[in-house]
Symmetry: C2
Subunit: 152 residues, 2 copies
DNA sequence: TTAGTTGCAAAGATTTTGCTAACAA
DNA sequence: TTGTTAGCAAAATCTTTGCAACTAA
């Protein structure tokens, strides 16, 4: 069963301010784009959406803000198995880590949560004495639809 | 306990030839570099090592050969949590998948195999009806040495 | 012979840096 | 006021493409 949707509007903004960081008009715009994204966005897509709110925002500001969010652990950077080029995708750091599955045929990205994943991370921390800050599990393969579909 | 070292010299070359691909002097060189690597190498490092064997090899040929190996599932592409830039690292596809742990302080990369990881992939295949072709689990954090070390 | 491969040059894609003006606190 | 941030331009980094010459099978 899915987690309850605990979307807190402006959470990113609140977290950044709680850390004493300056809240500029541009940052507010970019944060709102990331926060309300319904899918994984790369830097260019974030810039495009930000432009619709504030056409003056520069691409560099998007990169700088994403780096800021990354450093503070507020967003996760994904590669999604490099399905289309080397761009990176961003999503708000979830309350519970999930796995990203990328279909090599149709490109669909599916997310999956698992107790086994949580236990695996626990095992790593214990047996390797490694303190995990961030983790990323991505798998590439064929989704159920593409497995049963006729060959391309 | 570690797996037995079943290093088969020339395995990459044998696998490519078994697939009916042409074996050129340049490919042989690049394959031997990848095969005998004692650590994760990026394209530039592979080129550098290949140059020591055959100074005429072009960077482009390295990229093309790596892409070939990737497409055939003979090497895995790693990001190692982008610890130093956006380069990719390559390793021969292991008999059993392992986890890469990247220390955010000292940069050390540690590998770890786990039954839980295997079970997790089994769960994904079963519950998501997703046929896994390639998987990548990377974690960033602090290794045991850096955890107990004095702050930088 | 001939389809596949290489090297070279150039382009492409993504991200970062340096600097001054503008701005949040 | 004062240290931070934004915008602009330029550079840096990594990777791919086009094409003629070369080569493995």
């Amino acid at each position: 069963m899915p987690l309850p949707e605990t979307e807190i509007p402006g959470r990113l903004q609140a977290e950044l301010m709680a850390r004493g960081l300056r809240m500029t008009r541009q940052r507010r715009t970019i944060l709102s784009v990331v926060e309300t994204a319904k899918q994984h966005l790369d830097a260019t897509q974030i810039l495009r959406k930000a432009h619709k709110i504030d056409p003056g925002i520069d691409r560099v500001t998007v990169y700088r803000t994403l780096n800021l969010l990354k450093r503070h652990g507020l967003v996760d950077e994904l590669d999604l198995m490099h399905l289309e080029g080397e761009k990176h995708y961003y999503e708000r750091h979830p309350q519970r880590d999930h796995i990203h599955m990328a279909c090599l045929r149709c490109g669909k990205i599916t997310e999956f949560e698992s107790d086994l994943f949580d236990r695996l991370k626990g095992q790593i921390q214990r047996e390797c004495q490694f303190h995990i800050v961030v983790s990323r599990l991505e798998v590439g393969g064929y989704c159920s639809q593409c497995r049963s579909a006729t060959p391309a």
